[in-house]
């Protein structure tokens, strides 16, 4: 089963939930946690896994061949992302705008834009006593996260058996990287906080998740602060609330020390247990 952990708003506790839930579940079944927040992966700060291997991940970018180009400018016209510019006698390529769609390369009448591989980031595989952990890490300055997210998921699907529970720690927001992270998940957990900002971004994330026709539920983190509007919203929309993780200074302290919270705070562990039960039930009904 594949479970994506996402949120509209950043900083609601995706990584806290991902790492704690993965390690909690890993005590009784095979689990791989995958950090797909490739622009700033941070799950490993809490896991301290043993390093297994690293792979360079590439993206394909057109390289302009001046000798064969006839300057028809067809490439510039068809590029949806304005990644190619024609000036005087030159075609300029902007790798950061390129989405590696191959349109310019395939449609160039003189094959003057062959695609070449460029390193965009790295994939690393770690192992702890309880779980496997895989992260994608985009190079600094690189803008296109989607391809690396997709390649990281491919690695996980190839390397791990179907009966391994796969947890995808997704990027925040509701744009392309999030869509890529949750689009083939069986279940999506949306983490939010009980504040007006948390609710606002939760509604966006719910719309996105519904548009993708996903089964999903909400985890309210820092429950007890703010107000009850998130809870009322979930009731009104008939969205299951999987857990309400209490707002606690102690949890924040453990987080800041890079420690797993469920091992130290009993109520936190109870909430992990509630989520585990819900997922188990979901998995049974699905089978």
């Amino acid at each position: 089963m594949k479970i994506a952990i996402a949120s509209g708003k950043g900083g609601t506790g995706k990584t806290t939930l991902s790492t704690n839930l993965a390690m909690f579940l890993g005590e009784r079944e095979r689990v791989v946690l995958v950090d797909l927040d490739v622009e700033e992966p941070n799950s490993n700060l809490f896991l301290n896994g043993e390093f297994l291997k690293k792979e360079d991940k590439m993206k394909m970018i057109p390289q302009w061949e001046s000798s064969t180009c006839t300057h028809c400018n067809h490439c510039v016209e068809i590029c949806n992302f304005h990644a190619l510019i024609a000036i005087a006698n030159e075609i300029l390529v902007f790798p950061n705008l390129c989405h590696s769609c191959y349109a310019c390369s395939e449609l160039c009448p003189t094959n003057s834009l062959p695609m070449e591989a460029q390193k965009m980031g790295e994939l690393s595989h770690f192992r702890t006593q309880q779980i496997d952990f895989v992260e994608g890490r985009l190079n600094i300055g690189e803008e296109q996260a989607v391809s690396l997210i997709s390649q990281t998921k491919k690695y996980v699907e190839k390397y791990f058996s179907d009966d391994t529970l796969k947890l995808y720690d997704s990027p925040p927001g509701t744009s392309c990287p999030v869509i890529e992270s949750i689009k083939d998940a069986d279940f999506v957990i949306l983490v939010t906080e009980p504040t007006p900002f948390g609710l606002h971004d939760l509604t966006l994330a719910v719309e996105t998740t519904r548009a993708l026709k996903k089964n999903f539920g909400v985890v309210i983190n820092r429950y007890g602060m703010g107000n009850d509007d998130v809870l009322s919203y979930c009731e009104k929309e008939a969205i299951p609330v999987l857990a309400k993780i209490p707002h606690s200074i102690e949890a924040a302290k453990l987080y800041s020390q890079g420690k797993l919270i469920y091992k130290e705070i009993e109520t936190f562990k109870d909430e992990m247990q509630s989520i585990a039960l819900y997922l188990k039930q979901f998995s049974k009904e699905r089978a």
Binding site: A83, I85, I87, A88, L92
Partner: protein, 112 residues
Amino acid sequence: MKIAFTTKEPTWDSMMEARFGRAEYVVLYDEESGDITIHNNADIAAQEHGAGPKMAQAMADLKADVIITGNGPGENAHAVLSKMGTTIFVGAGEISVSDAYKAYQENRLEKF
């Protein structure tokens, strides 16, 4: 000299637009012939990426020697424009096109 202004409306009487890539129009004034050409960039509102390079491409197609704008181009567009040798003046985002032209003639604009 062909001088390009980033503008809000497709006329010489328009106010300037401070943004480069996301300006809706370019008013191009050819000092030699006195001709005014309008470039419509309004479809940029629907596009998320690459506004700067798209505008730089338009400037290349218009063969502008000088660009007068407000905030100035971003990194991608600037790379194209410097390759073309276009001179860019900024700080004219909040005035009318004719005032911007006057300021340019009197050398009161800041070079980018």
